[in-house]
Symmetry: C2
Subunit: 119 residues, 2 copies
DNA sequence: CCTCTATTTAGCTAAATAGTAAAATATGAA
DNA sequence: TTCATATTTTACTATTTAGCTAAATAGAGG
């Protein structure tokens, strides 16, 4: 079994699942409502939802015979947190990593090969 | 073939590949250097690098018989851009989506077909 | 009970992919 | 040319997964 972050990324690596998340970002929806815009069987959408639930991106409650789904943002926040370590590469004016590294290395007075750690 | 965003998410859905990216965030590295911390064959790491290149997360140049790899942040920025539509859910004080939606709906009135009682 | 609606599960196929070992390729050096 | 090093490519296997249809499950209501 993969770690939580990998599961979340894997769940997001499918356009249908991302569309489901987008739909859920405007409110709860039942499985049937979520399936409606897609040319897919309900069983397939149900499986997509199971993947999303397993990745903790969606939760499902029960209301009579409906299972309303809801977006859960905790896993998305984890992705966002993971991205933090890379944001410095575009937070400033650095388009390319080597520009950044060259700038850092020039600032440190090191002209060596490539093992400088900018952090 | 999947769209670019799906490919990027799929590439990130592997701990080895994320570790490779992290290593590259501190500077260029050859395939052998990247493979060193892993208990994987060079061929396997080479394939991971191909996935990362295909997702445009890594570029590879040539230096004699070495192929130094470099982090490319454009695809990460795309992920970051995709996340924008969800940041509002944790940018403020909203821990739970339903709190946010209740607040919004209370302000806007009811939109119609999703008014099952939430609890 | 039975029926209707909503959803999930089971069983299948096809495609993708992570891993391997071994052969092939590319470059530098002797 | 030959050898050594670095990396990729080529089969091949095993696992995962997106999709389907059909059957099963769950609740509402007659």
């Amino acid at each position: 079994m993969l770690d939580a972050l990998s599961q979340t990324f894997a769940a997001l690596a499918d356009p249908t699942r991302r569309a489901i998340l987008q739909r859920l970002s405007s409110g709860e929806a039942t499985v049937g409502e979520l399936a409606e815009p897609f040319d897919l069987s309900l069983a397939t959408v149900s499986k997509h939802l199971k993947v999303l639930q397993h990745a903790r991106l969606v939760s499902q409650t029960r209301n009579a015979q409906w299972r309303p789904c809801r977006l859960e943002v905790a896993a998305l926040r984890e992705i966002d947190g993971w991205m933090d370590q890379y944001r410095r590469f575009w937070a400033g004016s650095f388009e390319r990593l080597d520009d950044y590294l060259e700038a850092v290395q020039a600032g440190e007075g090191n002209s060596g090969d490539d093992d400088q750690n900018p952090d």
